[in-house]
């Protein structure tokens, strides 16, 4: 039994190294601005769900500094890696860019939708870090403001975002949003309408 991959898969595999390089460049260019966007949106979301509205998320290089304005300056800050949250953009972009004709047939629109899902996942990932920091690491304040149930919920959400969601999102979004191009690589038909020939 000799392996003969489909021509599409061969082309995909040939394009993947260059696509990975392009993905790293795009990610590195977007990273500084994207970190600020994530911090701003996460802070707004955290403040919308608390009273008093004192959550603070600041960017310090590749890290987010999480704290509160109603705590003494210099106390109660968490330094968490932003790269750990959004690095999965690299494999996702690499998988998309390696596809044959990724932007044909509303490809840009699908890429925008997939990226919107990814941004939402990143914001929630940072939000769960913030909530876990508040719920677990601020001593008596945490115990006074977060119940055991809340701590379990936020701990579970952080676990699922840190590992399963971050690891699997690139593949799921690639297969889901680019099914008509990705699925033929494995011999599955993802088209819901007859193809034009």
């Amino acid at each position: 039994m000799r392996w003969r991959g489909t021509p599409d898969l061969h082309r995909f595999l040939r394009r993947l190294p260059l696509a990975l390089l392009a993905a790293v460049v795009l990610w590195a260019l977007a990273k500084p601005a994207y970190g600020h966007v994530l911090a701003t949106v996460t802070q707004a979301l955290a403040r919308a769900t608390e009273n008093p509205r004192a959550a603070v998320v600041r960017v310090d290089g590749n890290y987010a500094m999480i704290g509160r304005t109603d705590f003494r300056a210099g106390s109660g800050w968490l330094k968490t890696s932003l790269i750990q949250i959004h690095y999965n953009l690299i494999p996702f972009l690499a998988l998309v860019l390696a596809l044959p004709g990724p932007f044909g047939g509303r490809g840009w629109r699908r890429l925008a939708l997939a990226l919107a899902v990814m941004v939402l996942a990143h914001v929630l990932g940072l939000l769960w870090q913030l909530k876990c920091f508040y719920a677990f690491d601020m001593g008596p304040w945490s115990e006074a403001n977060y119940s055991a149930v809340a701590r379990n919920v936020y701990g579970t959400l952080r676990y699922f975002w840190d590992l399963p969601v971050t690891f699997t999102l690139p593949l799921l979004l690639w297969l889901g949003f680019f099914a008509d191009r990705a699925m033929p690589l494995v011999g599955l038909d993802g088209t819901t309408t007859p193809r034009r020939t």
């Binding site: 392996w3 993947l16 750990q84 494999p91 593949l171 099914a179 599955l188 819901t192």
Partner: protein, 200 residues
Amino acid sequence: MSAHDDTLARCRRGDRGVDGVVTGGNNRSVEKLKAFLATPAGSFLLRYVVILVVGFGVLAAKPVNDHVVEPYTTFVAHEARIVLNVFGEGATVVGQTLRSPRFAVVIYNGCNGLEAMLIFVCGVLAFPSPWRRKLLGIALGFLAIQVVNILRVVSLFYVGVLKPEWFSTAHVFVWQSVIILFGVLLWLLWVQRYAMARHA
């Protein structure tokens, strides 16, 4: 056609009204999603997501974590220790910490290769193919991911020894991206080499 009939027809088509409000757009999206899930690709994706959620849920359970994940992570640390000692590092393992006189790394969940394995194994289980080929794929995939993961741990150890300021970069964005792509590539190759071989 009455105004009511016209509105119904527009809703079915998902047309936009003059005010830009989508009329029936949600229905159209749901129907498109249902149509996609009815395709072989859609049903595969659905199965894949369900198996992934169940798989990660099982791994997250405390008894599984205590009796499977942690011993497995220690096993990975010992594998890396053996490789490092081939290079004369004099490494030892305490728990999940791999230590030598020059550097030490702690292997956490997420660094033990189980996630890449789950990405791959769930893809294999969800794909329509005979069980014998699935089991063969899982066994070979397990070995391949082990090898790549040991390479990751050992290379990170040496990055820590030689360029500690690069450790975080190499650990997070280089190796984690590589591991995700490796899981995907391995699955694509399994599909082509084993699952689809019957069509050749």
